[in-house]
């Protein structure tokens, strides 16, 4: 191996378009060796200002206008101009072709790292992982975003910026509750959207009108519906429900709700595969650039610079460090993929006991299977090995507000492995992370109020921002909103919007009766 003379592609830290192309060719050739299946790449070189723009639109290449993106931008701009914060080295977009942004200020080494990370790591993840395959449609997303932007601009012209802004505020507040979790969404196509939009507007409105018809059709049918809840099953996709059934929304407003819902749906897989996605991309930039080095295509200096970036990306501060802010998805994901490879190539007795099916198997196909068939929660449940738990020194804390102190329920030892693994997996379950709030009932014959039900998990209450969210919900629905928090079958707390006068304030308060002196 070492007999071959080293002929590095470049030796300085300056990049040029020619060099980027050369590195990309070499990295593509190596990726080919591992049969990484990717979308075509579109590598775009941009300036730091443009990176801030890209940043502000939260990863959408084309976004509709909204003040919250301006807020993002101002925050980024300030942080960057004061040097408090570096910009992300790359942004990659799940589209076909896969768009990756390289920043002008990066060194050649960094550009190569980003190409390996984004254009081959993330890109193959987007194309391979089952969530992305079945929930997003990479080929049509750009077109759809263009459609959405134009539609919202038209709405602003017709109905005023304020009306659209208020509506978007309300929709954004409920964005995480605008996702179909179980049903595969119909693939979106901008062309079809445009064609069907008119038709849908009319049809939707007719449906809604029908639902809220106040003239009884026949006596017996009316009677039959009494006493029953409607909708019959609780609905978890709140935005979808509002789009279809909110009584007072105009057709264009329903369309805007739909747009926000579609965008939320597009991001849904990303939120569920943070560890897997970043881990996968990190694993491949590490593997591919090391291969480049083994072939003598990069210099020692390049490699040292690369390792410095790499180690800072996968750095995991411990819980008592001032830099600690939860588990670093890059670190955990990278460690797990590396560990799977190790289990396949050099299994220990422990691995054979814990992972009899993969110990000693072909690492590449095992790794790809893992990447394709899981999301964070199930990936951790399936593959978190005792070795990784030991390396990270993981431990779990139970913080129960009914107890005086905290309990360390498990640590990185033999009896604790399974417990830690289950808890960590649950931590990545979106269903646990977000409060479980569903649409429970609509008072169709009465005051048209909407009742939602929050099923508490481990007695966790809703945060105070919930009142604000209810205001937004009230704006969309147009009638009273009630939110019940339920433990088991028992309602523990009810919130109302608009606020109902509470009993206490009706009684005269003594301190107010005393006249001021």
């Amino acid at each position: 191996m070492s007999a071959r003379p080293r002929q590095p592609i470049s030796s300085g830290s300056e990049w040029s378009f020619e060099l980027i192309k050369q590195y990309d060719r070499e990295i593509a050739r190596l990726a080919e060796r591992y049969a990484l299946d990717t979308y075509p790449n579109q590598i775009e070189v941009i300036t730091a200002e443009q990176m801030m723009d890209a940043y502000a639109s939260v990863g959408m290449p084309i976004g509709y206008h909204h003040w919250s993106y301006g807020k993002h931008f101002l925050a980024t701009e300030k942080g960057y101009s004061r040097g408090q914060m570096g910009l992300a080295y790359e942004i990659v977009i799940n589209s076909d072709p896969c768009i990756a942004y390289l920043m002008e200020e990066n060194t050649m080494c960094m550009q190569a790292l980003v190409i390996a990370h984004a254009c081959y790591g993330h890109n193959s993840f987007f194309k391979g992982n089952y969530l992305f395959r079945s929930w997003t449609d990479a080929s049509s997303i750009i077109d759809y975003l263009v459609f959405a932007k134009q539609y919202i601009m038209q709405c602003e012209e017709r109905h005023g910026i304020d009306a659209v802004e208020e509506l978007l505020d309300s929709c954004h507040a409920l964005m995480n509750y605008g996702v179909d979790r179980y049903k595969r969404p119909y693939p979106i196509s901008a062309e079809e959207e445009r064609q069907r939009q008119k038709e849908r507007e009319e049809q939707l409105q007719r449906q809604v009108n029908d639902l809220w018809r106040t003239i009884p059709k026949t006596g017996d049918k009316h009677k039959a519906s009494d006493g029953k809840r409607w909708p019959a099953e609780p609905q978890e996709n709140i935005l979808y429900f509002l789009e279809k059934h909110a009584p007072l929304l105009e057709p264009w407003q329903r369309e805007v709700v739909r747009i926000v819902r579609k965008v939320a749906q597009y991001f849904y897989p990303q939120r569920q595969t943070q560890v897997m996605n970043e881990g996968w991309a990190t694993f491949w930039h590490y593997t591919l650039l090391n291969d480049l080095y083994d072939e003598g295509l990069v210099t020692d200096g390049f490699m040292l610079e690369f390792l410095q970036y790499h180690t800072s990306v996968v750095f995991q501060p411990s819980f008592d460090s001032p830099y600690y802010s939860g588990i670093n998805p890059y670190a955990l994901g990278f460690a797990m993929y590396q560990d799977i490879r190790r289990i396949c190539e050099n299994p220990t007795d422990e691995d054979k006991h814990w992972f009899p099916d993969i110990a000693g198997s072909d690492w590449l196909s095992t790794l790809k299977f893992a990447m394709q068939s899981f999301k964070d929660e199930s990936f951790i449940l399936q593959y978190l090995s005792p070795k990784v738990i030991r390396d990270f020194k993981l431990f779990s804390i139970i913080d129960d507000d009914q107890k005086d102190d905290l309990l360390v329920s498990a640590i990185h030892d033999e009896p604790g492995y399974r417990h830690i693994r289950e808890l960590l997996a649950a931590q990545y379950n979106l269903g646990n992370r977000e409060p479980n709030v569903q649409i429970w009932n609509v008072d169709r014959r009465g005051d048209r109020s909407l009742t939602l039900r929050h099923t508490q998990h481990d007695r966790k209450p809703l945060a105070d921002s919930c009142d604000e969210v209810m205001k937004h919900l009230h704006r969309l629905w147009g009638f009273d909103i009630h939110l019940e928090s339920v433990q088991g079958e028992q309602v523990v707390r009810t919130r109302h919007m608009p606020l109902k006068p509470s009993l206490e304030s009706e009684q005269p308060r003594l301190d107010l009766i005393v006249p001021p002196i």
Partner: protein, 423 residues
Amino acid sequence: MSYVIDRRLNGKNKSTVNRQRFLRRYREHIKKAVEDAVSRRSITDMEHGEQISIPGRDIDEPVLHHGRGGRQTQVHPGNKEFTSGEHISRPQGGAGGRGSGKASNSGEGMDEFVFQITQDEFLDFMFEDLALPNLVKRHLAGIDSFKTVRAGISNEGNPSRINIVRTLRSAHARRIALSGSSRGKLKLALTELDRLKNEEPDNLTDIAATEEEIARLRRRIDKVPFLDTFDLKYNLLSKQPNPTSKAVMFCIMDVSGSMTQATKDIAKRFFILLYLFLKRSYDKIEVVFIRHHTSAKEVDEEEFFYSRETGGTIVSSALKLMQEVMAERYPAHEWNIYGAQASDGDNWNDDSPVCREILLKQIMPFMQYFTYVEITPREHQALWFEYENVGEAFPDSFAQQQIVAAADIYPVFRELFQRRISA
């Protein structure tokens, strides 16, 4: 398959609209911050942006999430001394590692959202109350105080400004220079050919060789391009500031007990506006602050706006002082003199005719413009009526106006600006 695209030349201001939306939404906060800044800053210091901070909770985008409480389990890395089943006391506050982790997760860390607005935006917000029309705003924010003049010839420029004569001249020179040696050889070859044809018409090989040589040289001369990029010459235009000169601005304000801080703030805006306007028209501006009650005094800005005095009012004292300062330091042939007087209209009754006399005889003949603003909702007193006489005598350079709120400041200016812009 990869495509590399250079997007650096694409617009970088994709976020401008969103940024504007943000400013629009929080204009109340920003306006307040700008107002504070206006009263805090010196009137000669309006030329930069401002840092705005908005309480974090006001710009939150609410979403449903879990609050504190209940039974929370969390896995952390980096265990050092804990064993399973151990009870540890709950860390207090956000100081410990666990505490800070949770605090940032639930988004309680940020309490102030701070950002910067540019000078243009700052002035926009400041002008807003003053109800300025756009033309004047643009004039104040100052874009068009240059004129373009010819400044010779340059090698770079805009295609529409090509200087054809110069370009062809330099192309010609280049053609001569580059083809010089070939031309010389051609000349020799032509004479040689003539000689051969006349003297040795049978020497066909030499004739053919010379003819070929001639053809080769001609090709070579033809290869020198008629016009090359470095022949191009352009007329150079350069921007020159408008001929400007020096101006002095007198700010005169009544600081007697009847002037409240609110009145003074309105006066301050008026002075700022005048200052900004002068700044666009003149290179160098000096500002003289004269305050008066029963006697007048030249002071610095801080004292001018923020010190309190009591007592009666004798306006003529200030005018006398102004006249003295003018005579001593600002001769009218060197300086453009502007005056701005703010008062609540009170004056010692016997003093008002004196004021008129001083203005008419000693001040107005040297003034570019003198404005008097009376900041009061009450009825006019003697001073106003005396000043009306001055206005009749100098209709082009004297203006007086009553101001009740900040938005009334503009009408005073309108006349002045119209004169300036049309001039």
